[in-house]
Symmetry: C2
Subunit: 198 residues, 2 copies
């Protein structure tokens, strides 16, 4: 009978991801990963790989968690403005629920993507998922509204995705609550106009 | 007679700034600063301070250079759209002229601002200067246009500043030229609508 593992690799990965999210790639040592996961070097290496591999797996885990959180939250489909503001509030709650550490994808985009093409690709994958989320939200809220050109929905979703990344940067850089609120309200107002092509 | 310094602290600071801009704070060691400036440890420390002090001075130097570059470039004041696109092109040329390393203020906002209030304040100071730049650009382009409410100019300048930071993040994360162009054109289009209050 194979010897039972003394740790759960999924639990260890979640702990590693939290540490990377807070501290970034360079600022995290293998020693930090060992002390934060409670798993020794050999266990960590054999189940999750080296530091870069654990970082890449952490990014995947983060993106999965991010999208699940987004999809699990209720959106107010009354009109475009309410829908966009409520979705932003959900993203804000998810990011903020982990203590003002911004978005791990944005942090990695700034810190690691310039020198690691695989990380840049993961950012692109996240962007595609977030844009798809916005498109489906917009289609849903527009069901009862006037006819909107499909390309306006595509452009609006791309715009909103970049605004979400902007929000993440504002959050991480300790921006004021007032600036963050204005950013969210402005994004919603502009999304509405973009959809209507005015 | 005092012994002549064997290096120019301003030149050393510019070299240190370039290295921080490319590599970030954590990823830069004092050894890197020594080898890139060509100044020994004692010279560096006595003229510019410790690593954090050199980083803070580098941020100031970067912000000065950024604003000078922006103010020195020509803007096409024909209409709001042309003015905003040409200003974005100038910012893009400045950032890109240093080799796809994004904006040092944004990089620092993500990497250092969460744990260093002084860096967060410098980001805020940069934001204020960029917003003032946009306000004065908008006032100039609107001289011959219809009356625009002053608060629309303030909101539009704030929006454009966040869009500039978004551009910087896209650049650093190796985004496609097509996405960057759409981001710039969208920002210009929305700025125009924001000003007109529609």
């Amino acid at each position: 009978m194979a010897r039972k593992k003394e740790f759960d690799p999924d639990v260890a990965l979640t702990k590693a991801m939290q540490f990377f999210w807070q501290n970034g790639f360079e600022n995290t040592s293998v020693r930090d990963l060992i002390s934060n996961t409670g798993v020794n070097f050999y266990g960590l290496y054999s189940s999750l790989g080296d530091k870069r591999e654990i970082f890449l797996k952490s990014l995947d885990e983060y993106i999965k968690m991010y999208m699940s959180a987004l999809n699990a939250q209720k959106v107010d489909y009354q009109d475009v403005d309410s829908a966009v503001v409520s979705a932003f509030d959900n993203i804000f709650a998810f990011l903020n629920g982990h203590g003002h550490i911004g978005c791990m994808v944005c942090n990695a985009a700034i810190e690691v993507a310039p020198t690691d093409a695989e990380v840049a690709l993961k950012m692109q994958a996240h962007r595609e998922q977030v844009e798809a989320y916005w498109r489906s939200l917009l289609v849903k809220v527009l069901e009862k509204e006037e006819l909107v050109k499909p390309e306006n929905i595509v452009h609006c979703a791309e715009f909103l995705c970049t605004q979400v990344y902007g929000l993440s940067m504002l959050l991480r850089a300790q921006s004021s609550q007032a600036l963050i609120s204005r950013h969210i309200n402005m994004s919603a107002k502009l999304a509405d106009r973009l959809l209507k092509g005015i």
